[in-house]
Symmetry: C2
Subunit: 334 residues, 2 copies
């Protein structure tokens, strides 16, 4: 069995989780190097790793490079990605810089792994909030054709990075100690609050922030549906990890509710948690750390023809980022 | 000027806030008594009040009785409301028991005070999440006719009552101290979580919880639109006070975005906070304690014809409950 020389670029929350998941899933690697903006030692998955500074030469002989695309790794794929590809490395980029590039497949393995055929060495991982939405929509779309999506998100601070996790923690501890609450990462205090802004203002969609636009454009690209109608409102809430989404999908023909439940629950990577009479539905706290996308509150939308509503929760650092990237690498390694 | 003999029934968060607001707005009362399940002294708005036990006789000579409808006051309007009406008291009930009763007007003063004409002595205050939604929708509806509403809510724990506020506080303090986190009020830990269940399972709308059904039915009644299409997903988040809502409204004809902003901002009781480029939008932490309904993120929904999206935040204990009830009393007193 062939073994691969792997590089992970970025040693923030996502980069570390990529390393953890490669180890956890016994990815067949002969070499695993971790690159970041500065050299240091990091403890990851119980092992000590030497983190090297990312340079153009770092990719010599690397088969697959996973760019974490957040924090320390931000912009790294712009600086080093395409040069690495020229030297024969396959790049899997969790960053947002090339997702809409027509040369680049944007892949959720369970949904559109066929986009990996004839790739040109550079593959993008979708945005976290897009991945879990597409996982929940695709099984319905395949059967009933989804024409329209209206989504509101309830996003965890881990999506912003380690500094945001620390900020929520600090704010809550200050509150508990009766001390003044500071703020650096978000435009408003996040503890005990809800902030309807993720990203900067979009140039293309008036009044929308960039996270919302990503959900529109990436979903269309992944599902090969340029005309799919998508609107999103993305909100940050004081949850440490795992994003929740309240999704309305309108289908071309009337979806059967029991059939939809069956399609969702039997789709690889999805878990149905849906017994509302027993308060059984996913919550971010309960599913954080798990691999699957969890779906509950599946019901007919009484206000829109042929529409289904659901509540979709997933660990944004695992399936929303690191796991999805490793799954892409696994397909390439097969 | 006539002065009124007032009773407030319930001395939980809403009952106390009713008393505070009556004092704050100089309501013309000659007598203000507070009734609850048990006799005690309570400090409210800096004054000491003797809380009496609610009995049928408590309403003798009372002109207007405000039933808080939560906690201690729950069920009180069922026990005492109609008997008080028979004796000549006008009842304003914040509880949910009679809102859909055809004898009972369901009133948001800025929206449908005309429903108070020929009332039969019993008036209901809508549910908190309905009030702020209707305040944001009505100015648009009057001009463009709203046919469809899709809403997701981000609701504060104060809506559940004082015990839930204390639970969030306790959980956060346990977390900060590194101690085990207990849970009593909600089916899951609320700190650092999002719970997509408010109320019990509905008998009428399969898969919906009662808070969601209230938003559908109450909105139709308040706006006199039995055919209005409404769907809601109600989610509890770890915010102490003030509910947020992400609302999509579809109109019969194309709404002009600037006109909508103008209609929203000039409507009494509403405040427009909408400069997304400067991160200006309402958040629950910032508007808690204020009277107005705050509206931001007003934009065209790119996925639905003639539709507008907005983010609506309001203090659920003030405009969502106590203030709205006092405003009804003020109209009656005029």
């Amino acid at each position: 069995m062939k073994k691969y020389r792997i590089a992970v670029v970025g040693a923030g929350m996502v980069g570390k989780k990529m390393v953890e998941i490669l180890v956890e899933r016994n990815f067949p690697y002969s070499d695993l190097k971790i690159l970041a903006t500065r050299e240091r030692d990091e403890e990851i998955a119980g092992k000590s790793f030497r983190v090297e500074e990312t340079k153009a030469e770092s990719f010599d002989g690397v088969d697959i490079a996973l760019f974490a695309g957040t924090e320390g790794g931000k912009g790294a794929s712009q600086l080093f990605g395409w040069d690495a590809v020229k030297k024969g490395t396959v790049v899997i980029d969790n960053g947002g810089d090339f997702r809409m590039d027509p040369r680049v497949p944007l892949v959720v393995p369970e949904v559109n792994s066929h986009h990996l055929k004839n790739h040109r060495g550079f593959i993008s991982n979708p945005n976290c909030s897009t991945i879990q939405m597409v996982m929940a929509i695709f099984p319905i779309h395949r059967e009933y054709t989804v024409d329209r999506i209206i989504v509101s998100t309830f996003q965890a601070v881990s999506g912003t990075g380690r500094n945001a996790v620390e900020e929520l923690e600090r704010q809550v501890k200050s509150y508990s100690a009766g001390e003044p609450i500071g703020r650096e990462v978000y435009p408003y205090q996040i503890a005990f609050n809800a902030i309807p802004q993720i990203g900067g203002l979009s140039d293309e969609f008036p009044g929308y922030y960039t996270e919302e636009v990503k959900m529109v454009k990436e979903t269309r690209k992944i599902l090969d549906c340029p005309g799919m109608q998508v609107s999103a409102t993305c909100v940050r809430i004081p949850v440490f990890n795992a994003h929740s989404e309240c999704i309305t999908v309108q289908c071309r023909r009337k979806p059967g509710l029991e059939k939809v439940r069956e399609l969702l629950g039997s789709f690889p990577g999805n878990s149905l948690m849906d017994e509302p009479s027993g308060s059984i539905y996913p919550t971010p706290l309960e599913i954080s750390g798990k691999d699957d996308v969890f779906i509950g509150r599946v019901r007919e939308n009484p206000a829109l023809e042929n529409a289904i509503d659901m509540w979709v929760v997933s660990d944004n650092i695992r399936k929303g980022a690191a796991l999805n990237a490793v799954q892409i690498a696994e397909i390439l390694a097969r």
